[in-house]
Point group: C2
Chain length 246, copies 2
């Protein structure tokens, strides 16, 4: 681990990268304790503040955790799917909102990924996951549900579908795509008729998963994608009309 004091990059960034690379390379293993801040500052020949800034950078990426006290210090963190999941959601959300990703693009990606899960979910889903899907469908059928609650239930439904594949890697990858779309989905106002159509599609998707028919689930998901895009197109068309009039 070498540091160049004349590099344009901040010392704290260099140190953080050096430690991160050591973790990736396996030189530092999970739960291993890093040297104390005082020792690190001596090793790298920098002040303790600089070391601390480097450690905070790593902590922000869940690569280390710190503990105070006599036997405390910084420890290499086992990156859990949960940690990665929440980071993935914020990153994806910001990506969509900051880069003006169109609704169609996000929607296409989301359903393409979901269709990838459907066959696996159809053959593996637990009874519990199927029950969750049914429960969310029931919730969506309740009158008086706000649009936001409807969207939230929609996310829960699709998460159960994805988790049914019992592949944590897939669940992790999809989490961002599905949850990050929620702000976009929330722009849509659902009429009673819209909800009925979606509800019917959700029901048919659950039935397909229930009967283990992956191909049919894929087809129903495609139908749901078409429906979603049609709804969004209507919303944007109405907005454009209003904007032109005013």
């Amino acid at each position: 681990m070498k540091i160049d004091p004349n590099s344009p990059a901040d010392l704290s960034a260099q140190i953080a990268n050096a430690i991160r690379d050591a973790i990736i390379a396996g030189a530092l293993i999970v739960d291993e304790r890093l040297p104390s801040e005082a020792e690190l500052s001596e090793q790298f020949q920098v002040s303790r503040s600089t070391v601390r800034e480097a450690l905070k950078r790593l902590a922000a990426q869940s690569l280390i955790r710190t503990q105070r006290g006599a036997t405390g210090g910084a420890f290499v963190n086992r990156l859990s799917f949960e940690d990665a999941y929440s980071q993935q959601v914020t990153t994806s959300t910001l990506l969509l909102s900051m880069n003006a990703v169109s609704f169609d693009t996000a929607c296409e990606a989301r359903y393409a990924l979901e269709r990838a899960c459907a066959p696996l979910s159809a053959s593996r889903r637990s009874a519990d996951q199927l029950a969750t899907m049914r429960a969310e469908i029931f919730r969506q059928s309740q009158p008086g549900l706000t649009d936001e609650a409807f969207c939230a239930s929609d996310v829960a439904f699709h998460r159960a579908l994805v988790d049914g594949a019992h592949n944590p890697v897939l669940s992790y990858q999809l989490a961002g795509a599905v949850e990050a779309m929620q702000p976009l989905m929330n722009m849509i106002t659902f009429t009673a008729r819209d909800r009925a159509v979606i509800l019917a599609l959700h029901g048919r998707i659950a039935d397909s998963i229930d009967s283990g028919d992956g191909d049919r689930a894929v087809a129903e998901l495609t139908a749901l994608e078409d429906e979603t895009r049609k709804l969004a197109a209507d919303v944007f068309a109405r907005r454009a009309t209003r904007a032109a009039q005013s």
Copy 2:
């Protein structure tokens, strides 16, 4: 943005979260300049070091960038797909290595996601992306190629396939899955016969994409997945045998 000095969490973490939430909520927009460190330390009633640690946390997530000098400061960063992409790769790599994700699980996720891209890629890929696929296939046919170089070319081939879908969200999501698997793939040693089989499958995939036949591309990808898993199974079986003998 309120900070609780009695919270168990570090002040710097609280401040970082407050600023992050403001960015997500849109209260701070892209390229907007945050108050100077001195001003922030007064606003939050903490020392400048604490503010700095908070800012380093945000910088580690590419949420802000800092600039020195008279008109310098911390600016809200436009999170680019490239930034997110590299973070995604490191996170995915660590997830796989630290959580003992099986080769089969990772492989299944990867090919499921790739199959999701295939139909889109078949109908949209640019001539350039198809040329890249062909070029990588040619490179893979060269004798004397190391296993690592073969794997790297494999990644490039699949990236071209994915990018052919022309959906940045899909490319971003898949980047992690494909690149993070490279260390696992590198454990496999390819015999000349293995390479010939893979090469033939790559050729057929490229042909499918070329002719716009998404369904066939999906089928060929499935065949490639089967082949990859068979190779991996052989490797692990040989290892188990050697381990039992020694």
